[in-house]
Structure formats: C-alpha cells, structure tokens
C-alpha cells in the first residue's frame, strides 16, 4: 500500500518539530518505522494491538469511516502521547499528528479528521510526497 503524506501531516510535523515534541532519534528509530508498517497494512501484528492502532471515533462515539489512529506513548522529553490520524483507502493517507491533551481537544481533532477524510474522498487535497 502506498503511504501518502498530505499537507495536513506536513504542517503538523512542522509544528511538532519546532516544538520539539519528539527527537530526531525517536522519529528515525521509532515513529518512521511504525508509519512505514502501513505499506504492508493490515499484515502486521501491530495493527491488532489497540494500544498502537485503533479505529477513530467522533464526539458521539460513532466510528469514523475509513479513519484510524496510530499511537505512541511517552514520547519526547515531555513524555507525551502522540497520535497520527490515518485515512485508509486504496492508499494510506497520513493526516494530522497531534499530542493527546484532553477529551475536548481529542473531539475537536476528530472533527477535523472527518473533514480531511471527506476532502480525500472528494480528491481535494495536497500531496506532499510518499513515504518510501
């Protein structure tokens, strides 16, 4: 499966890189290899581990169609919980990465994710590269 980097992912990486949410080593040794697993989706045991991969749900608890979250725990010096929203279609679309803060912020993030998924379905998005 191709892994597409959208402008939403790029912008969130920019924000996190500048805020030093994660180190270069964490990115290269942990985050990037995990994201690359999407190339073989769903054929990796990590995709059945709900601490790593789960279906996204909206503010009412309903499943978000085609929407998933990749999760990392205790990332960076701030030991934060990092999330990456991913749209799974015939290709995997990296949407927005964010630090999980609280329930309200999470619900807002999921609302944004719904918009991104709709934009992908409508073929109205910016592709900033493919992960290889």
């Amino acid at each position: 499966m191709e892994v597409i980097i959208t402008s939403w992912a790029l912008n969130s990486y920019l924000e996190m890189k500048h805020s030093r949410v994660f180190s270069k080593a964490e990115y290269k040794e942990e985050i990037r290899p995990d994201v690359l697993l999407l190339k073989q989706y769903p054929n990796n045991p990590k995709f059945v581990n709900d601490k790593f991969w789960s279906i996204a749900t909206d503010r009412t608890g309903n499943k978000i169609q085609d929407g998933y979250k990749m999760k990392w725990h205790q990332v960076g010096d701030g030991r934060v919980q990092l999330r990456l929203t991913v749209g799974i279609f015939s290709e995997a679309f990296l949407c927005e990465a964010y630090v999980k803060e609280n329930t309200k912020a999470e619900k807002r993030q999921m609302a944004r994710f719904k918009v991104y998924l709709q934009k992908i379905r409508q073929n109205e998005y910016v592709e900033n590269g493919r992960l290889s």
Partner: protein
C-alpha cells in the same frame, strides 16, 4: 463521491448556532462561511455543535480557530501535488516560517494589533492568534486578507512557504 447531506433538522440547528455566534460578536463573514461549510461537511457541523454546547471560553475560542481552519481547508477544490519536503529540512523550514510570522506580527502590532486586525479582516481573533503562534505554513488566503486590511505590499507578505 457525493458530499455529506445533512438532515433538515441539522440545517436548522446550524442556522440557530450561526445566530448565537453572531450575537457574541463573531463576524458575519465568519459565521456565514462556517454555516455554509457545515452544511456540506459533517466535521464542521460537529465543531459547530461543540461550540454551542461548550461553556468554557478558552475552549470555545479553540473551536472557533478550528472552524476557521476548516473553512480555509474547504477552499481546496482539487488535488494538488505539493512540494516534497525531507524530514531533515523541516526544522529549517519551521525556523523560516517563525521569522516570517514574527516580522508580520510586528507590522500588525504597529497597525493596532490583533483586535483591530480581527475587525478589518473578519477573521476571528482566536484564529489570528493561532496563525501567529503556530509554525504551520501560512495560507495564502490569510496573508492576502491581512495584506488588504493593513494595506501592505505583496513584498511585505512574500514568503517562500505558503499554501
């Protein structure tokens, strides 16, 4: 792909929330765009509902900034192949964007600050605050609104990194 169709009940709800937003001082420009986009995008409808049910002012402001982000996102009407950026270049780009936004902020402050800019552009203040504090690539549409409002030249808003 057909666009999300909301029920008539949801449409009425959105119009009511729009009225509430206008009553608390959000610009007609923002409110009408928010309602229009929420008719089509369930994610924006969700944000409007969260705004109407929220009591904490800080959280309401974050929701407003999210709605403005999504209004801008929805201007994208085709697939575009953007610039490919290597991970190792991200920090340099983020620094470049930071300097650009800091310089623009100085100009804004000399022209009455964010509050005045909100009035002149119709962009909600929480959204402008997020624009200046974040390191994300600025949207051309936002830069043009700021330039028009403050009578800035194209050179003053020129940056290598826009979307």
């Amino acid at each position: 792909m057909t666009t999300q169709t909301l029920t008539a009940h949801k449409n009425v709800e959105l119009i009511e929330i729009g009225h509430q937003m206008n009553k608390v001082g959000l610009s007609e420009d923002f409110v009408s765009s928010a309602v229009r986009v929420a008719f089509e995008y369930e994610g924006v409808y969700d944000l409007m509902k969260m705004w109407s049910e929220e009591t904490d002012e800080e959280e309401k402001n974050e929701i407003v900034a999210d709605i403005q982000d999504m209004i801008d996102e929805c201007l994208q009407k085709e697939k575009v192949e953007g610039t490919y950026i290597r991970f190792d270049d991200l920090e340099q780009i983020a620094n470049h964007i930071r300097i650009f936004k800091d310089n623009l902020r100085i100009i804004v402050e000399k022209n009455g600050g964010l509050k005045k800019l909100t009035v002149l552009t119709g962009i909600p203040q929480p959204s402008l605050s997020r624009f200046f504090s974040s390191n994300t690539i600025p949207r051309r549409v936002t830069l043009l609104k700021i330039a028009r409002a403050l009578n800035l030249s194209q050179i003053q808003i020129a940056t290598e990194w826009t979307r």
